[in-house]
């Protein structure tokens, strides 16, 4: 984490009352492969407390041996809470959320997003129209983490 991001992070944390909000994250994996236009979706349900979403990170795990350097994996994602926000276009995930490979390129959401208990956090992940490794298709797992705060004093 850079000094800039630490400052942002601390600042955001300081404005929240720790007797009301605590750190919380949700996560899931999406198992897919690099076939063109391959679509996979996964979701997680917010538990019985309001959740304030602050940032989304992701990381690729290669399941199948691949000769380094690993082929680029082009993901297009769209992101939803429940289903009322699926009208966004697909975009390269690095442009949307930054890239968490080295932990220092994460883009916080422009604004926090307050989710109710029972809301679903959904990622719809589509492989780009171009194959990642030429004509070679390989499997991989994409891990997604939703970072935020949970209201624990209700």
């Amino acid at each position: 984490m850079t000094d800039l991001q630490r400052e942002i992070s601390n600042d955001r944390r300081n404005q929240l009352n720790p007797y009301v909000w605590r750190d919380k994250y949700y996560n899931f994996d999406i198992v897919t492969n690099t076939a063109r236009n391959r679509i996979e979706t996964n979701s997680v349900v917010v538990s019985n407390a309001p959740f304030m979403l602050d940032r989304i990170t992701y990381r690729t795990i290669f399941l199948q041996d691949s000769t380094p350097p690993y082929p680029y994996v082009y993901n297009e994602v769209r992101f939803a809470v429940n289903t009322n926000y699926l009208n966004n276009d697909f975009a390269d995930s690095r442009l949307l959320f930054g890239y968490a490979d080295n932990g220092d390129k994460v883009l916080p959401l422009v604004e926090r997003w307050l989710c109710k208990p029972g809301d679903s956090l959904v990622i719809e992940q589509r492989q780009a129209p171009r194959s990642a490794g030429g004509e070679f298709t390989f499997n991989y797992t994409q891990q997604w983490v939703f970072h935020g705060f949970e209201k624990w004093n209700q």
């Binding site: 082009y74 975009a91 442009l95 930054g98 883009l107 997003w113």
Partner: protein, 151 residues
Amino acid sequence: MQGKDWADRRKALDPTIYRAKYYVLNIDVDAEIGGIGGGAKTIDNTPFVLERITHGISFRPDGVNQDGNYTLQFRDDQSVYNTEPALAQMLFGGVFNGNRVLDLPLRMFFQGSSTLNIDVVNYTDRTGGGVTNFQLGIVFHGFERWDSPRQ
């Protein structure tokens, strides 16, 4: 400085009223030196507040490097926002080469159904390997008012 300002701006908004929102624009750009591309995105019929722009070469063909050697010009229906096109990474920072995304100095407010335009000029010869064009991805990050918490 930017981080502090950014955090201050985020503090000012109630997350029960405003939610993050983004729009995507993919532009085909000619791979030769001086090659141009352009595109437009019409936003939903909801006011949109633009906070940052990110960009990068998507689905890049072989031999096309993520070098940022292209300029962007940004305007809407009424106004041109950078009169002299500059390299995109100088204007908005780059996602691919680091975390140096630059938020806009001031948020821009757009009425619903406004159209955001981007013009691109390629500054590097990317025609190796028979490539004739490449696709540049643009994301407009911002937020919109959802008026009341969802029921």
